[in-house]
Amino acid sequence: MATSNIQNTPQVRRCATMDVHRRLLNENPTYALARDDIENMTLRYQEGRGMAGRAGVTRIPVVVHVVWNTAAQNISDEQIASQIDVLNRDFRRANPDVEATPVPFLPFTADARVEFALATSDPHGAATTGIERRQTSVSAFGADDEVKSQASGGLDAWPAASYLNIWVCQLGGGLLGYAQFPGGPDETDGVVILQSAFGTTGTAAPPFHLGRTATHEVGHWLNLNHIWGDDGTGCSGTDNVDDTPNQGGANTGQPPFPQVSCNNGPHGDMFMNYMDYVDDPAMFMFTAGQVTRMQACLDGPRAAIGTGGGAGTLAPRHSSSPVVAWGANRLDVFVLGTDHALYHKAWDGAAWQPSVTGYEAQGGICLGAPQAVAWGPERLDVFVIGSDSALYHKWWNGAAWGPSPDGFESLGGLCVGDPRAVSRAPNRLDVFVVGTDRALYHKRWDGTAWGPSLSGYEAMGGVCLGQPEVVSWGENRLDVFVIGADHALYHKWWDGAAWGPSATGYERLGGVCLCAPRAVSWGPDRLDVFVTGADGALYHKWWDGAQWGPSIDGFERLGGVCVGEVEAVSWAQNRLDVFVIGTDSALYHKAWDGAAWLPSDDGFENLGGACTSRPRAASWGPDRLDVFVTGTDGALFHKAWDGNAWQPAVDGFEDLGGVVSCF
């Protein structure tokens, strides 16, 4: 709610919040100062000063701590999933009831561009369901944070920088839930929700059975204030948002439209806003001004969350490669030997296994480079094309290789060139191959079976030159790139429901491309694609969540004369590292640091070597790069950026032995 004089300068709005700040200052000076900084930063953001903002959609990893006393309070996984679904609808303006917004307020409704997913990786990097449970002797908790500590009968918070903590428990006094604004202590960061007001099924009970308590509390967690301004029933409080009407006190129940207060007729209070106190069926919208405030929070005090940092839970998943890192300080490398069998070696954090120059033989007779992905710690899925041109698969489940140490699962097909695979979620695999008709084909693992069948493929149309590329920036998102017969770049995507632009159609993105595309994503709804052009130079284009840059069919020229394929990785939001081989067979590198290309727009860093393969790179942590090539003697060579310097030297490589026929 704005103050009654909507046109006033922001300083007036600031003044109205000072009472709250003064009260907090008395209670907790550190918290009050942090809150003050956040309000100042939010104000700058709302005025459009000096803030970049996040592109696209932010996906936030969630941990749900179920703290139960009676068995009925130990809510089901389904009830938890129903709550996550509600959050994903409400914060994307995808809730059907938004259409019930009264006509005068409908233009103000907005997509908050925030999504939520149960965490897949815990604070120690181990696989998790994102749900933890505990029985407690506390029959009902209060609003005193005791549910947030193991010692007081609850469960400890997970790191606030990486997770949204949601505690679900029995609350006393009829309390539905409470939140903590950004800027408070990490140990108590998150929201607490009454078990019978959580989700839409199980114990959820009317009129709080549509999951809106969590929507309201997460609104606070993203720095939204109550729409009436927290001044009792007065007309002088503000919610620090300009596009909500000035409002007296809270509305309750399911009031008819309009509800006039504070001379705000004829349309009255925006009581259907999630930040009022009406029943679940009566609240269904955020405004654009509230979205700006939430995005300011994600740009400021909650800048780390949902970026794939910290536990690396929801980092976008890139295309398969012979080199994969499933965890910090871990690398797995797959090559073909001169006998065209598959060979494997791994860095375990301390040493190369089975030895610096040794390899584990894995059988098979393979055509083309092996393609590996990891959908979780200690999990590897490797795809190769066999001598019969069929697709083959083997996997490491943490204990053993399947189907056997030197065996493969046959997945059918008649494939040309290397396959490409991606995992968009734990235990999900999508594999793309080019058929003998040069069309694209797709198959998927849904956690229990291969679709459309063990040996079958879904036809995806097109006439492809070279290999496809696929990247996933979200659990239900795939972006596929191919080079068409006209050497232009083409794109298609899976949005969770359908293929765009159609099942067999493609979006034309222009260019004259001489190599297969390489795509990376450093965040939700963000794509960066690299190709080499007819002049041998490196070219780049990007999707920023709204449009293709520099244009739908245009590319940014990044210089160089490149031989063969391009490699690109990202180890942080708005960070890109690109590797190419030059005409002198040396390895070259350039990087985008969030503001500029290094060493220059068209320049490259020479990393030496006499390379006989394309470069393959992986990053297992922030400011860490590992790059692999084969040398003139056929051996595999490795170099690494450790955050300070290239190891073993700027132009030096570590010899990892072997005689590699394909990498």
Partner: protein, 106 residues
């Protein structure tokens, strides 16, 4: 029958569903099963203050939906269950038993 109108102790939570005309009904915070309420419930904590005078603290939902305490107010007995609450405000106990507290605020 004469109702007990002595000042209660402890924490009482507004059971607004039971309110009668002009009369607010409170139930023991710790033991009564209150239905969930989004607007929250006012809590009154009655206690003897450091100066030996009876006092009451009111808690209402704050900006983060947690109950937030206002500064304690001293209760000055006026007789017949009536108490002065600062300047010009009055609290009258209508009924006080271990299970229910009914009061009128003016």
């Amino acid at each position: 029958m004469t109702q007990n109108t002595e000042l209660p102790g402890g924490s009482w939570t507004h059971s607004f569903e039971e309110d009668e005309a002009g009369v607010e009904v409170y139930r023991p915070t710790a033991t009564f099963a209150f239905p969930p309420s989004r607007k929250g419930r006012e809590v009154l904590r009655f206690a003897t203050q450091d100066d030996g005078e009876p006092g009451v603290t009111s808690l209402l939902p704050g900006p983060d939906d947690r109950p937030r305490a206002a500064p304690p107010a001293t209760l000055r007995a006026l007789g017949q269950g009536r108490y002065a609450l600062g300047a010009g405000r009055e609290l009258q106990i209508i009924e006080a038993t271990p299970a229910i507290l009914k009061l009128v605020r003016r």
